[in-house]
């Protein structure tokens, strides 16, 4: 076992009947890393993550998570792994504080429940029954239950669904905070900005395959991609050209037009462009 790796996956496959959800995924996540699995709905994100969490059995492949095969989870391993599931498991009759305090009792090295409540921003809701919480507040409770055991590795399956923009920013701060403290984080998302804001590396998953794994700014060779220069001709039509040296190209254009180039734009593909191209190819 490689001590530097929190997660190692080789040749992971999973099918539900004829429907192949995961079709051969290889993946390494380093300790202390924030890794985002990015992909459209139905791409295989949740299936992959739930196999890593020990919820689903795989059909084939080798998987170790914190040095343990998640198909044989034991209590010690469970206490080192924090899980925030996609669906919320609700305890309608209990208060926020009661639920968090109860779950903290399952862990040998749990965090102080009051501190956790404060941390996820539910302090003023601590005594509220969980069924009175808003969607975003319920999600915060989920996160609280994921981190109350002070996990070495935290899984977050689409954690910010239902958050307003401000709550998302606050949540991102919390994730950065956990990462700074050394927690390895694996999150799935279909928000590009979330992956870009949080992840050290992004794995783009589509059609059950990992299409690419890279730092967000290197995804799809974005930095090296050709720039598109576009301008308006004197006839009023729009012309554009791809260039590896857009500055020289624009200087040329300026000389041709004798100064100002009408309607000039220079663009490189956005993360979204790159992403849509990638998942488009996989379909």
């Amino acid at each position: 076992m490689d001590d530097e790796l929190a997660i190692s996956v080789r040749g992971l496959r999973k099918a539900y009947g004829d429907n192949v959800a995961v079709a051969g995924v290889d993946l390494d996540v380093h300790r202390g890393e924030v890794f985002a699995l990015l992909g459209p709905n139905g791409a295989g994100k949740t299936t992959t993550v739930e196999i890593l969490e020990g919820y689903r059995r795989r059909d084939a492949g080798e998987v170790t998570v914190l040095g343990v095969d998640p198909a044989q989870p034991d209590a010690d391993w469970r206490s080192r792994v924090g899980i925030v599931l996609q669906g919320t498991g609700e305890f309608d009759e209990l208060t926020v504080a009661e639920v968090i305090r109860h779950f903290s009792g399952f862990y040998p090295d749990a965090d102080d429940p009051d501190k956790v409540i404060e941390r996820v921003g539910l302090a003023d809701k601590a005594k509220a029954r969980t069924h009175t919480l808003s969607g975003g507040q319920k999600r915060r409770l989920d996160v609280a239950l994921g981190i109350v055991g002070r996990p070495e590795l935290l899984f977050l399956d689409e954690p910010t669904t239902g958050f307003d923009p401000e709550a998302r920013r606050e949540f991102w701060e919390l994730i950065r905070d956990l990462a700074a403290a050394g927690t390895t984080i694996v999150l799935t998302t279909h928000y590009l900005d979330e992956a870009e804001a949080l992840a050290d590396r992004v794995g783009v998953i589509a059609g059950g395959r990992l299409v690419e794994v890279a730092a967000p700014n290197r995804l799809g060779n974005r930095q090296e991609a050709l720039a598109t220069v576009s301008w308006r001709t004197p006839e009023g039509t729009r012309e554009s050209a791809q260039s590896a040296t857009p500055t020289a190209f624009v200087a040329d254009l300026a000389a041709r037009y004798g100064g100002e180039v009408p309607g000039l734009t220079v663009t490189r593909p956005t993360l979204e462009d790159v992403y849509l191209t990638m998942i488009g190819h996989a379909r």
Partner: protein, 281 residues
């Protein structure tokens, strides 16, 4: 959310001691009881049903069944047995599918909680509510309908073991049958007809020996009939044993059948229990 940083956890942190197993089970039981008591439907349905039934029955049939023994004395046995079955079999068979559907069970599976602790929590809840409900039922029957409580220690002992074995069998069967329901809402559709039919054929609403013989024989395959019969030996005079189908209260057979259902229940639980819904993998 605040941004206070927690002290860095070393990668190979030495983990503290896990909380003791007994403490975990008690905590789980307390949580289950809290949830039960805060859910108004459960309290009214589970605790109230047998009491409403005894109020109705004792008011309708206020005569005697012979030998100067009041009807109440007979029907209280059926009501106690029904109450125990409601709090265990129906309660769990209806609530576990809801918790499974909500993802509560899945969430527990993601923690280091040993699996048995969750089951222990349910058992503690069932036992606590079962005792409270039975005491309430007896108190109402004594206060309003002059019920005679068992007079000897031996009868109380029989009461105790019949109740314990019966509740155990019904709890296990309730956990087992919860896996039949595919969604939260289908739990009560699965459980209620089973419970209702058993109540009718097991001598809860009628004098058992007045039922057709074939019905008595079907009922004899299931625990409720034997719980009622065991409880009749507690609340009726010795001489009434002769009127039972077997010519006596057959306490030995009561113990054997209930114990057998405990075994069947354990096997069903171990082979069929699901922590997640079908669509959940």
């Amino acid at each position: 959310m605040t941004t206070t940083t927690k002290p860095a956890t070393p990668v190979t942190a030495t983990r503290g001691r896990r909380p003791g197993a007994g403490a975990l089970a008690l905590r789980q039981g307390r949580l289950e009881i809290t949830q039960f008591l805060r859910s108004r439907e459960s309290v009214v349905f589970t605790m109230g049903f047998p009491i409403i039934m005894i109020l109705i029955f004792a008011s309708i049939f206020d005569g005697t069944i012979g030998g100067g023994v009041k009807f109440t004395q007979y029907f209280i046995t059926g009501m106690i047995a029904t109450g125990l079955m409601t709090v265990s079999f129906q309660n769990l068979g209806i609530w576990i599918p809801i918790e499974r559907d909500r993802g509560v069970l899945k969430r527990y599976r993601g923690t280091p909680m040993p699996k048995w602790v969750w089951f222990a929590g349910k058992v503690i809840m069932v036992v606590a509510i079962g005792i409270a409900e039975t005491v309430l039922l007896l108190a109402v029957a004594v206060a309003l309908f002059d019920l005679d409580l068992p007079g000897t220690a031996a009868k109380w002992f029989t009461f105790g073991w019949v109740a314990v074995l019966g509740v155990t069998a019904c709890t296990l069967c309730g956990i087992a049958i919860s896996s039949l329901a595919r969604t939260a809402r289908s739990g009560s559709a699965v459980v209620t007809p089973v419970a209702l039919v058993l109540q009718f054929i097991s001598g809860v609403f009628f004098v058992f020996t007045d039922l057709p013989t074939w019905m008595q024989q079907v009922a004899a395959l299931f625990p409720l009939k034997w719980m009622c019969q065991g409880l009749r030996s507690v609340f009726l005079p010795e001489s009434f044993g002769a009127q039972e189908p077997g010519g006596s209260f057959e306490l030995g057979r009561v113990a054997v059948v209930l114990a057998l259902w405990c075994v069947i229940g354990v096997v069903l639980c171990l082979t069929t229990f699901r922590w997640t819904t079908k669509r959940d993998g």
